[in-house]
Amino acid sequence: MSGAPLLECRGLAADYGGPPALEGVDFAVAPGERIGVLGPNGGGKSTLFRVISGELRPAAGTVRLSGRCAVLPQSDRSRLDYPVSALDVALMGAIGRLPWWRRPGRAERRAARQALDVVGLGDSAGRTFGELSGGQRQRVLIARALVQDASLVLLDEPFAGLDSPSAERLMGLLDDLAGSGHGLLISTHDVEQVAAWDRVLCVNRSQIAFGPPASTLTVPVLEATYGNEIVTLPDDGTGARRGLLPAVHHHDDDHDHGHDH
């Protein structure tokens, strides 16, 4: 947790032409940090990602990025039908760095293959993106981020719809990315998962809290974040254990062909 921050948000607010969708956001991401972003559906997580990635202009405040930023979008049905291979998708990461008149060439293809090797999909480079499992698709998108040479990666609910072996594999990959100095901003509904990461950002239309999980994930903070959706689960004898019943989040993700190998 040393070095200049990869991302610094100060007094950030955003809207879609109406009332603010998000306000009072104030945090920073250092190299190697995994930051969990918690919040209810419609609480502003995706809005925050849109502002950071430059898709949406902030209504107030500043976003300072010190490197490139990559986005892993939520799985989208239209993308499953797209006529591209895993390699094609990884290669898309190279385009933004090329002048407009240049097509990706041999060097870019080599980088894309290497990135697929890193995420463990070197053998699937030629497979159609839509035919891969949910976890494999997330890893292809991480390969795209690697080709892009992004220092900050935004992951929008990357674990949604994954079975547990796929989720564990993805988790391991995210740990590796952080180990190599990437900053990660990961939106999720799983409080247990976030507890293992470096920091947590709670948002519900405004920033509720930001800090290390141990001191931040308190019942009042979670209640402020999730409102009445929070429930407390009794844990045998050792006192009340925090538990969460998040809003049911459906990804009609019927393309998961089993888990990874």
Binding site: S53, P73, L91
Partner: protein, 584 residues
């Protein structure tokens, strides 16, 4: 069967369709992938105001259409946000463009009738300008696709994340829309705005069902567009159908077959099934072809309009095979040449045109047919002429509806007789006798109509009709023209509310008892005005075209007699009509 491909105009059509299919097949994949099908359809139709401007200000129609299409693309792109649905945006902008076009045509330029024909095209009359435009579109699409293709692909894959990936400029997308505009305009000359999708969108959508990668998809789409285009031209010549529509039918049928095969059958068997269905379709289309005409008369003649065909048949008799291009009740402005017309022109000894801008397209048919018939402009030699009313570049010097004065028909008969005699000297006696007999009937018609009109008091002879096609008739028989419902000569223009109010006041003030809709146009407007003023709209007139074979207006003589009858009935409140001895 293969000799079809030896015809010069067919070869030019095939060259055009092959050039077009390069741009169309490649762009088609991007259009399907990026959800731009409606945009590509709309951008051709949106060219209408550009065509009006080009006509009114006197620059090339292709330039006007392309300029407007580019502006259309820029406006649509400028209004689009990252999440905008291109379809609804396109619809909004299209409505605006069409509205501007109608206002320009109706109120600013009083456009001539030729404009809407530019939205239609024909693969049978392809000029070198059309070929050049198609080649330009193909070259630009190939070159630009090589450079920008990866960006289009990445943006379509993840539109929301494209900024994060470094695709910040809206330029690649704008270039894509502009290329779609250029290719659509190039296709306009070949198959028209309404059917351009058959070449641009449908082949790509068909191949999409069977491919999983861009390179295969693009190669397949180009190939399929080319095959469907060539097959369409060939089938249209064999069946004498309009080639644009034939291509649309074939590509639609192949798409349906591919879809069914994809849904129903196993992948491999399905491919065979689709190929089989396609082949069966081609055979079915081919077997519909009839034999050649093979006439045995000494002379082959082509006549453009229905009334001209009737005059030539009467003078030519058995010695002349007449191929008449326009059919009854079709507006000469909506004409699209059919393969038979071009073939007949290529083989003809004489071609008769009506002249004064009414059938200016015939010059193109003659030059593209590769034949060398003697072209006779019958309208140029008529003795009675009235000034044309159109303004602008396409204006005609004289009102082209000359046949409504029987004295002009007499002169036309003489012109036709002389032309036939020059082309076939041994038939001179026959043509003279036929012409003399027919002239007697035309003179009887003239006298008969004059006698009928004399029974109506002069101040009751007041004519209100759709648009002013009857000046020769009214001048000849002393009829006062009170007004026309469509103030401009193009049927595409729309009268304003003020125009209609003025006409309604005039009809009431003058005590007009009848409004006469033209038989080949929709009578709705005339009926509405009749309802408001208490006049009748029950009597229709034959203006630009003869009626079908079983109607009173099936011949020239019948047409003029029926018009006189309708007018006398209208003027006299139905008390009497007009019958002329010896004329049906």
């Amino acid at each position: 069967m293969l000799q079809t491909f030896q015809l010069a105009f067919v070869q030019r059509g095939i060259a055009e369709v092959l050039l077009l299919s390069v741009g169309a097949g490649l762009l088609g994949t991007w259009i399907v992938l990026r959800g731009l099908a409606f945009f590509s359809h709309a951008v051709g139709t949106a060219a209408f105001p550009g065509l009006v401007l080009a006509d009114g200000l006197g620059f090339s129609a292709a330039l006007g259409a392309f300029g407007t299409a580019i502006v259309f693309a820029v406006v649509v792109r400028a209004l689009a946000g990252p999440h905008t649905d291109y379809d609804s945006l396109t619809a909004v902008v299209l409505a605006g463009f069409l509205a501007v076009g109608v206002i320009l045509a109706s109120d600013v330029f009083r456009s001539g009738a030729s404009i809407e024909t530019l939205l239609f095209g024909s693969l049978l009359v392809i000029g070198s300008g059309d070929l050049a435009l198609a080649a330009l579109a193909a070259g630009l699409v190939v070159a630009t696709g090589l450079v920008l293709g990866p960006r289009w692909l990445a943006h379509g894959f993840d539109p929301a994340g494209s900024r994060a990936i470094g695709l910040r400029s809206p330029l690649p997308d704008l270039v894509l829309l502009a290329l779609i505009a250029l290719t659509t305009i190039a296709a306009l000359a070949a198959i028209g705005a309404l059917l351009a999708a058959a070449l641009i969108v449908v082949p790509a959508a068909t191949v999409r069902l069977w491919t999983r990668r861009m390179p295969a998809w693009q190669a397949g789409s180009v190939l399929l567009a080319a095959v469907e285009g060539v097959a369409g031209i060939w089938a249209s010549v064999e069946t004498n159908a309009p080639p644009g529509a034939t291509i649309a039918v074939i590509s639609g049928a192949v798409f349906a077959a591919a879809l069914i095969a994809r849904r129903v059958a196993l992948p491999l068997r399905g491919r065979a099934l689709a190929a089989g269905a396609g082949a069966a379709l081609l055979v079915a289309v081919a077997s519909g072809c009839g034999g050649g005409s093979g006439g045995s008369a000494p002379l082959d003649a082509v006549a453009t309009t229905t009334q001209l065909g009737d005059l030539v048949r009467n003078v030519g008799g058995d010695r002349v095979d007449v191929h008449q291009i326009l059919q009854p009740n079709t507006d000469p402005h909506d004409y699209e040449p059919r393969p038979d017309d071009v073939v007949a022109t290529a083989d003809a000894d004489v071609a008769f045109t009506s002249g004064d801008g009414l059938d200016a397209w015939m010059g193109e048919v003659v030059s593209q047919s590769g034949g060398s018939p003697a072209v006779v402009d019958v309208g140029a030699s008529v003795p009675v002429t009235l000034p044309g009313e159109d303004e602008g570049e396409e204006a005609s010097r004289f009102d082209p509806h000359w046949w409504h004065d029987p004295r002009n028909a007499e002169a036309a008969v003489a012109t036709i007789r002389n032309a036939l005699t020059a082309a076939d000297p041994p038939g001179a006696a026959a043509y003279s006798a036929n012409a003399a007999a027919y002239l007697a009937e035309v003179r009887a018609l003239d006298r008969g109509i004059a006698a009928c009109m004399a029974t109506v008091p002069a101040d009751a002879r007041m004519l209100v009709t759709d648009h002013d096609a009857f000046s020769y008739f009214t001048e000849r028989y002393g009829i006062t023209v009170v007004g026309a419902i469509i103030p401009s000569q193009t049927t595409q223009a729309q009268p304003s509310a003020g125009d209609i109010a003025r006409l309604t006041d005039l009809i009431e003030a003058e005590g007009v008892t009848a409004i006469f809709p033209e038989s080949s146009l929709s009578p709705k407007l005339a009926e509405a005005i009749a309802r408001d003023t208490g006049a009748t709209a029950d009597y229709s007139l034959y203006g630009d075209t003869l009626g079908p074979g079983d109607s009173a207006g099936a011949t020239y003589l019948g047409m003029e007699r029926a018009n006189a009858d309708a007018m006398v009935r209208g003027f006299t409140g139905g008390a009497r009509g007009c019958t002329i001895a010896g004329i049906p």
